[in-house]
Symmetry: D2
Subunit: 388 residues, 4 copies
C-alpha cells in the first residue's frame, strides 16, 4: 500500500470528539458576546455537534460538561445523540462555579467544600455509567492567588484523597483523564500545574488514570510534542484538549496560531501508531469561539486536525529514520518539512467524496441553511453559556 493510500485509510477512521460547550456562548472576563442561533439545551448542543459530524464525517462524539449539560435522564440524552448520528463521549466535571469553590474544590481548606466537590466527581462517574462513557475528565481550577495563602503540600494531600475516592468508584472499563494547567483562574499556584504532577498522581492511582494534554495549558517555550512522546512511551497519554494560543489559554481554533506545532504533535502520534480510536486516546477539541460563528468554527477545527494528521501520515518514516540515524540534521529536517509543505487538501477532499460527503464541508454547511433555521427556532429562551 502506498503512503498516500495508508494515510487515506487511517484518516477515514479518525475520530475527533467535540465539546458541547463550544456551541454555547463564551468570552473573556471583559465580555461575553452573544451570538445568534446559540443552543439553549444540552439536546440542542448535540444537534449542532451532529452537524459538524454530518459535514466532516470525522466527529461522531460529543463531550458533556456537568452541570452545564445536566438533564434528568442521561440514557434519553444518549438516545437523542444516537438519533442524530453521534454518541456521548467524556463526562467533564465542573467544580469551579459555585460560590463555595472560591478557595478551591477538592483542595479547599474547608472539609465540607471538599466533600461537596468529591461528591460531584462521583456523580460524574454515575453519569458516565448512564451515558455509557468511558472517560471522566477532571480539570481543577483549584489553586491559590497569593504566596502563603495555603499550603502547597497539604493541598496535594487533599487532592490525592479525592482522586483515590473517585478512582475507587470507576467501573473496570472506565478511566480518569487528569488534566493539568499552568495558570488561570488561579494565579500563584495551580494544584495540577504541569504534566509531571498529573503523571505522578495517575501513576499512583493505577492503570485507569491517564493524563490529558490541553495544548493551551503550558508555559511559553514548552515543547508539547516532547510531552506527548514521553507520555506515549509511558502508556499514560489518555486524551487531548485541542485548541491553540498565542500567549495564554486563548482557546482559539486548533492550528490557528501555530499550525506547525499541531503537525509536530500529530507526527508523534503517528510515529507511535496511535492515530485511530483503538489507541485509547481521546482526541477532543476544547475551544471558545468568542467572536466567530460556532458550528463553522468547529468544522474548521476538525479540518485543521485532519490536515495536520494527513501531513503527519505523509512523512516518509523510513527516510526519516535513515537520516536521523546517520546524523544528517538537514536531511532529517527536510523529510519532515517535505510532508508539512505538502498541500493535503486534495487528499482530504477525495476522502470526503469517497465517503459520500461534500469535499468542502464549510461551503456545504453554509449552503444547508441550518444556521438560519436554528436562529429562527431558538430566538426565544436563554442561550447556553458557561454559567448556564
Amino acid at each position: 500500500m502506498t503512503n498516500r493510500a495508508r494515510a487515506a485509510e487511517i484518516l477515514g477512521a479518525q475520530e475527533i470528539e467535540l465539546p458541547s460547550w463550544a456551541f454555547g456562548n463564551s468570552g473573556t472576563r471583559f465580555k461575553v458576546f452573544s451570538q445568534s442561533g446559540v443552543p439553549r439545551t444540552p439536546e440542542e448542543k448535540i444537534d449542532d455537534a451532529a452537524q459538524v459530524h454530518a459535514f466532516t464525517g470525522a466527529a461522531p462524539i460529543v463531550s458533556l460538561h456537568i452541570p452545564w449539560d445536566k438533564v434528568d435522564d442521561y440514557e434519553k440524552l444518549a438516545v437523542h445523540a444516537a438519533d442524530r448520528g453521534v454518541r456521548i463521549g467524556a463526562i467533564n466535571a465542573n467544580v469551579f462555579q459555585d460560590d463555595d469553590y472560591m478557595l478551591g474544590s477538592v483542595t479547599s481548606p474547608d472539609p465540607k467544600v471538599r466533600r461537596k466537590a468529591t461528591d460531584h466527581l462521583l456523580e460524574c462517574v454515575e453519569i458516565a455509567n448512564a451515558t455509557g462513557s468511558r472517560d471522566v475528565k477532571l480539570w481543577f481550577a483549584d489553586g491559590t492567588n497569593y504566596p502563603g495563602q495555603d499550603s502547597i503540600r497539604t493541598r496535594q494531600d487533599r487532592l490525592a484523597e479525592a482522586l483515590d475516592e473517585v478512582y475507587a468508584a470507576l467501573r473496570p472499563d472506565q478511566r480518569i483523564l487528569l488534566e493539568y494547567k499552568l495558570f488561570e483562574p488561579s494565579f500563584y499556584t495551580t494544584d495540577v500545574p504541569d504534566w509531571g504532577t498529573s503523571y505522578a498522581h495517575c501513576l499512583r492511582l493505577g492503570e485507569k488514570a491517564v493524563v490529558c494534554v490541553d495544548t493551551g495549558h503550558h508555559a511559553p517555550g514548552t515543547n508539547i510534542e516532547f510531552i506527548v512522546a514521553f507520555l506515549l512511551r509511558e502508556n499514560k497519554l489518555g486524551a487531548f484538549d485541542f485548541n491553540s494560543r498565542f500567549y495564554a489559554d486563548d482557546d482559539l481554533m486548533v492550528g490557528a496560531a501555530d499550525p506547525f506545532q499541531i503537525f509536530r504533535i500529530m507526527h508523534e502520534i503517528v510515529q507511535a501508531g496511535a492515530t485511530t480510536p483503538d489507541s485509547g486516546i481521546n482526541f477532543m477539541l476544547d475551544q471558545c469561539h468568542n467572536i466567530e460563528p460556532k458550528i463553522p468554527a468547529q468544522i474548521r477545527s476538525v479540518m485543521n486536525v485532519q490536515e495536520a494528521t494527513a501531513k503527519a501520515l505523509l512523512v516518509d518514516a523510513d527516510a526519516l529514520t535513515a537520516a536521523q540515524v546517520s546524523g544528517d540534521v538537514l536531511g532529517a529536517n527536510a523529510v519532515l518539512m517535505d510532508a508539512y509543505n505538502t498541500d493535503v487538501r486534495p487528499l482530504l477532499a477525495e476522502i470526503r467524496r469517497n465517503g459520500g460527503l461534500d469535499p468542502d464541508p464549510l461551503e456545504a454547511f453554509s449552503r444547508s441553511g441550518y444556521l438560519d433555521r436554528v436562529t429562527e427556532a431558538r430566538k426565544d429562551g436563554v442561550p447556553a453559556g458557561w454559567g448556564a
Copy 2:
C-alpha cells in the same frame, strides 16, 4: 536633612489613586465570586475608597470608570467625594462591553461602531470637565483573534483618527493617558500592544498625550523599570496602573508577586525626582480582588507602594553613583540591595503616627467595624461589578 528625614517628607506627600471598580465584584472568565458588603452605587464605591484614605492618609483620589460609574450629576458626585475627604481622579473610558464592540471599538471595521466608540470617549472628556479631572484614560480592548481577521495597518489608521478627535476636545489642562497591553481580551493582535505603540501615538498627538504603564501588561521577561526610565527621560510617562502578576494580567495586589520589581520601578521614579504629585504622574492602583476582601486589599496595596517607595528613597544616591561610575558591579548592586533589605515598616508607622493615624492601618480598619456595618446596610440590591 538626613536621607531618612527626606524620605519621610516625600512619603508624607505621596498620593496614590484608587480605582472605584476595585471595590465591586470581579473575577475570571470562569467565575465571579460575590463578596459581602460590596457597594451598589458609585457613591458607595467612593465611600469605601474614602476608608482606604482614612486609614492610610495616602490615597485621596478615586478614579471613575464609565459607564460603570455613570450618574446623572457628576458635580454632585464630586461633592459627595469631597464630603468623604477624597476627590475624583482620572476618568476611565470603557469601550469593550457593548455587543457592538465584538470586533473592536475605535478600530472596528464598522464605521458606525467607530463613531459610537469615539462619541463615548468624547463623553468621557465631558465628564472629566464636570468632575474637574485632569486625566482621561484610554484603554482599548481592540484587537483581533485570528491572523488575517483584519488589517493591522488599517486599524492603526482608525485608531489615529479617533485619538486625534479626542485630543482636539481636551481642555488646555487636560490629558489623554494612553494605556497599552500585550494581550487579552484579544489574542492575536492588540491595537496598542506595547509602550512603543502608545509612545508613537502620543508623540504625534502632542504634549497632552502621555503613556500609561500597567505593570501587568507586558510579555514575560520585559524590564518594566527600563520603560519607566525611558519614558521619564522623554517626558512621556503619564500614569501607572499598579498591580502584580505571576504570568498574565493577573491584577493581583501590587507588590504581591514580585516586591523587588515594584521597588526597582520606584527607584527609577525617585532617581528622576518624580515621586510626588507635582511630577504629573498619576500613581494609580488597578487590581481585581477576586478572592480577598476588597477594602483591606486596597489598604494593603497602598502600604505596599509606600514600602517600595520608602526603600527607594533610602537608596544612598551618592554611593550608588560613585560605585556605578567606577564600574564596581557588586558595590553598586550592594548599595541598591542595602536599601531594599531595610525594614521600612517602623519608618512608615512613625509617619502615620505623626499624621494622626494608627500605625497599623489594616488592624485599625478591622477594629472600626466598617465592613460589618456596610454588609448589613447593603444586603439588598445588586452589588457593583464589571458589568454593572
Copy 3:
C-alpha cells in the same frame, strides 16, 4: 496579470542578504563545534556565500562583520565579491569582543571605552564608504547584569551621544540600521531592548536612521508582524535579521521553528508593497549553523524565505479586504490560510528553471562537489569563527 504571474515576477526580483559570519564556526557558551571546510578568510566566506547565490539566484549580497572581516583593502574585497557574482552589503559593527567592553561599549561608564567604541563605529562608516555599502548596522551588546549596576537613564544619554556622532558622519545615501534585542549577553538591562527604544532614537536622529528587526530578539508572545506593520506605516523599517527560535535567540534557520510566523511577516511586507529591493528594506539572514553544514543551511534558509514570500504573494488581497471589512472573521482567516496551505514549491521550481537554475538548489549544490573541494583546500589554517 494573474496573481501567480505577479508573484513570479516579484519573486524573481527578490534579494536576500547573507551574513559572512554564518559560514564560519559558531556555537553556544558550552561549546563551538568545528566543522570541516569552513572558510578561513573574508574572501573565502564570500566564496561560500557566492555559492548560495549561484544555486538560488536570490542572494547576491554579503554582509560584513568588523573586525571579523577586517582586510587591508576593502575596495579589493569588493572586487573579489564582484568576481564571484555578488556584492558587499551592510557593514556590521562589533563592539563587544574586546576586554574593554566588559561593562559596555558606547554606554560604558568609562569615557575612554566609549571613545574607543564610537571610533570603531566611525571606522565602520569609513569601511562602508570603501565597499560602497549603504547600510551600517549597529547592534549593542551593552547592558547590565544586576539591578543598580549602572544608571539606565545615563546609559541612554551616552548612547544618544554616540549615535549622534555616527549619524553626523553618514554620507547622504547612507543609513544607520539600529538593532534591538531583549536580552543576551546582558541579562538585567539591555540598552536597546525593544523596537520602541530603537524607534525613538531613530526618530530623533532623522531620516537616515531606521530600525532593524531581528526575528529572534523578542520576548515570548510578542507579535512581530505587528511591529513590522507599525514600522512600515511610520517609514522606519530598515532591515531584517531573519532567523528563528523556539525560546531565546536561538539563531536557527529562518522558518525552521515557526514557518507560519515568517509567512505572516512576509504578508505585512507584501501588503505594503515592500518585497523588492526598491523598498529600501534589507532582508538579511542572521543565523548560527552550530550543528548543520553551513552552505546548505544558508541555501535552505533562502528557500524558506522564498516560500514564505511566495505564499504571501498568493494571498487574494481583494477577497481578504472584503472579508475583513464585512467583519467575516472565519472568512478572512480562511483567505489567509488558503495561501499558506498552498504548496508553492512547484512555482519556485519553475522560476528557477526559467532563470537557468536547477529547480532543486540543495540537490544541485550537493552534486557540485564544492564542499569536498573546499574541505581539501582549507584543511590547513584556522577556520573563521566569532572570535576570529
Copy 4:
C-alpha cells in the same frame, strides 16, 4: 525556644556547596571576559572556595566538574581540600565539550558516542569513590535543534539505557542527581527538559536517583516552589543548583533577580524540615560571574541564601496554618510577608560573631588582601575556564 533562637540554631548548621567552576572565567557565546587572579588548577579553585567558607562559615563543600577538574590523584585533592578546611562534594559529569558530542552524548544516534559518554559517567562514579563523594550529578546538554532531527522517543530509550548502567555502578551510599533544563544549548528538544522527565527516570531507577532543581532552568511563569514542595512530598528532591535569572539561564547570583522567589523556595524547605544537611538535600550554587569578581560574588551568594533561609525560618508557622485553614487569604499572605519584610541581617551578623567570624564577610574578605596576593601569584599560566 523562641522562633529566633531556633532560626539561629538551624542557620548555624546550614551548609551550602560551592562549584569549583564559578572561580574560573566564564561568559556568553559572545565573549568570555578574563578576570585577574583567576585560579589555574583544581587546587587553586579549592583554595578560593575555602576563602568563601572562611568568611561565611557556611560553605564547607566544593563540587568538582570533570574533566575541568581532572587530576591524577583525587585522594590527594581531597586531602588538599581538607587542609583548607573544606571537603569535596558532588562530582559533576561533563559530556558536552568533545566534538563527538555535537549531536548528543548518551542520546547520540551514534552508538560509539553513547558508549564513550556512558564510560565518562562511570568514570565519574569512580572519581566519587576516590573523593568520598556521595553524589554524581548528571546534566545532559543532549537534545536537538530542528524538528525531525532525531526521534524524541528513541532518545529516551538511549537515555534510560545509559542511566541504568550508571545506576548499577553506584555504591550503596551513592546517588545520581538528575538535572533537567528547558533549553540551551539545544533549542528544539532537550532530552531532560523538565522535572517530570527527571522524576520519571528517577522513579524507574530507584531510591538512589533523585532530582536536581536548577533555579534557572524553567520556562517563564513556572512556579519553582511548587516543584520543590511536590518533590519533597515524593522524597525525590536531591539537590539544588542555586542561581537567578531574568529571562533564560542567566546564572546570576542567587537572589539577585528575584529575592522573593528564593525566599518562597526556602519556605517550602523550612516547612518540610529539610534545611540542614541531614535532609539529604545538596544546596549548591551554580553561577557564572561573568562581570563581577568571583570570590566576593560567591560570598554574596552564600549570604543571599542565608538571608532567604533566615526569613523563611522566621515565618510564624502556627499563625500561618491558622490563617490558611480558616481561609483568611490576606491574613495568611501577611504572615508570610511579615517574615519576608524583616531585616535579618542583624541576626546573621550575630550568628557570625558567635561563630568567631567577622559580621561583614565581604568587607572582611576585602580587607584580607587575598585577591591582590593571588593576582600576583597567578599572573603566569592559563586561567581556568569552561574549556580548560
